[in-house]
Symmetry: C2
Subunit: 166 residues, 2 copies
């Protein structure tokens, strides 16, 4: 396989993976492109490489920066902005966990709290409250597990974790 083919295949697959992970296809492709780019790239180069419009590139690059998956790099003497990907996979996954936890798990926890206040007037209501209580318990556990996971460092994950859970 040639380098060009390999790169294309990678960008393609990373894009597909991303789109089932709350990161849209183009966003993931830009990330893939930057991951395997030997140098930081400008918006123009990204547009060119992926055949996308300026607006699209701009929006997705900024979203990637929001997610903490890409950094802006200002080259001295250059007016253009350049972009580099976070290449440490553990950092990438950690950032995604942090973002999605904030966007999804935490709002859900709030909703679960709210609906716990349903009147336990009927047997059905009491059953409902009980099920919600179980879900809440589980979600809280997941929440704090993820917190701990995110605080842990890369080496810990790569090295120790595997042995601990064996």
């Amino acid at each position: 396989m040639t380098l060009k083919e390999g790169k294309e295949r990678f960008i393609q697959s990373w894009g597909a993976l991303g789109s089932s992970w709350g990161i849209n296809r183009t966003m993931a492709q830009i990330h893939a492109l930057l991951l395997i780019a030997p140098e930081s790239l400008s918006a123009e180069e990204i547009m060119e490489e992926l055949q996308i419009s300026r607006g699209n590139a701009n929006m997705n690059i900024r979203a990637l920066i929001d997610w903490g998956l890409v950094y802006k790099e200002l080259k001295p003497g250059e007016r253009k902005e350049f972009f580099v990907a976070e290449k440490d996979m553990w950092e990438v996954v950690k950032n995604i966990i942090v973002q999605r936890k904030k966007r999804e798990l935490e709002p859900m926890l709030r909703v679960l709290d709210e609906i716990s206040s349903v009147d336990p007037e009927s047997e059905e209501a009491r059953e409902f409250i009980e099920i919600i209580r179980e879900i809440k318990l589980f979600s809280n556990k997941a929440d704090s597990t993820l917190d701990t996971l995110v605080k842990a460092d890369s080496n810990w994950f790569v090295g120790t974790f595997m042995k601990m859970i064996k």
Copy 2:
């Protein structure tokens, strides 16, 4: 808050959560509805409750069964099929992990293997191969960690895990 409001709010939120988790809104809503239903429900009842068409209900129920999140229940003497949700949250999460691993992580591992065969003819190609190697290493670790996690039982997660990683 009344029981009715609480239920609606829960179905609503569970639907929203699902849609950022590769489980579409309706599928997640059906799951939510079944989670809090005191009894198993028929397709008709689900259609009625969520105001969706027969076809939609049928397709999403079957998808939920595929994911292992819902079971078919055949009541003796009844010709209709009834459905119940898997209510153990740890089972739910485990099934989602298994499915998504199979659909996303495993294909990605295959792609990474393929593109490792890029000719290391240039310096750039060698750098590419190296980055792919790192991603592959990480993905393999994630893959086996998830395997271990899925084999572990609920109690282990709820009880021991939290202490271990403290």
